[in-house]
């Protein structure tokens, strides 16, 4: 089969050919998914060098494990799960756990016995996101997501950045749907809190910069 023919094949056929050992078909899988794998790796690793290492490990794993892909899930789901595992394995080697404990405590803002918030929730300015995404805010965003523990970053990235459903997120992360929902809630709350000191400032002060 020629390179042009492989490029026009449906994904299932490319996977089937790659599973039989067709090197060109495997090359086509690399071509189709390398941007996706690198971007997702970067979103999890937050570091170009680590992202590229994860990217390489992922395709080596894909090559080695392709025979175990049974087609019951989507290929992209299977691929995302491999990236996720590679990222987690890298992180676990470094054993950073401190902030996870503080996220466990972030179940909800403080409430009184009647279930109402005990303090006023800070209002964010209403400037459209594309106008306020200046350098300072971008740095804050990078810092905040960098502080998020990987288990939470994975769920936030899959649900809110990659647009995966709760079900697919849970499948990729290897957790229950309820755990995925809980981690997403905590991750969003954590990230919101990290940005609040910046976003809750009066619009006029920000415009004066």
């Amino acid at each position: 089969m020629s390179g042009a023919e492989i490029r026009n094949l449906a994904e299932k056929s490319v996977i089937a050919a790659a599973r039989t050992g067709d090197v060109r078909a495997f090359g086509e899988l690399v071509r189709r998914y390398e941007q996706t794998v690198y971007r997702y790796s970067f979103k999890l690793c937050r570091d170009r060098e680590k992202a590229e290492e994860t990217f390489q490990d992922t395709f080596i794993n894909v090559y080695r494990k392709l025979g175990t892909f049974d087609g019951r899930s989507r290929f992209s789901t299977w691929l995302y799960a491999i990236v996720t595992n590679n990222c987690l394995m890298r992180h676990r080697r470094r054993k950073i756990r401190e902030i996870e404990e503080s996220l466990e405590a972030l179940e909800s803002p403080a409430t009184s016995s009647d279930g109402k918030f005990t303090h006023d929730i800070a209002r964010w300015d209403e400037t459209p996101a594309d106008l306020v995404l200046d350098k300072e805010l971008r740095v804050q965003i990078e810092k905040a997501i960098g502080k998020l523990p990987p288990d939470y970053r994975i769920v936030f990235t899959l649900r809110d950045m990659e647009g995966k459903s709760t079900e697919e997120t849970a499948r990729i992360a290897g957790i229950s749907k309820e755990a995925a929902k809980s981690r997403l809630r905590r991750a969003r709350a954590f990230l919101r809190d990290q940005l609040t000191p910046y976003m809750a400032r009066p619009v006029r002060r920000r415009a004066d910069k």
Binding site: V30, P109, A122, I141, M161, L184, R188, R192
Partner: protein
Amino acid sequence: MKCTDVYLHICDNLDQRLGTRRCREIRAHLRVCRNCSAYLASLKRTVILYRSVPSPRLPRGAHDRLIKALQKHGCFPGPGSPPHKRSVRRRK
């Protein structure tokens, strides 16, 4: 419905207008609770802000480095070697 209930459930439905009883109750609560509506608005903005950060494209040379890594691990034929079929570990 209490603020804590809203906190626990709005996250699932940030961008959805579901017609379930719980969603109707949440919407009714949001109409009268300034704190919860501010909280929801800021959560939505949080997601929009994180989405708006561009993610980098594959760096120059990364594809070639990947091919080299695949060759090193025996996943790809090396330079000059003929295309070959490799053995793929199959599930039993």
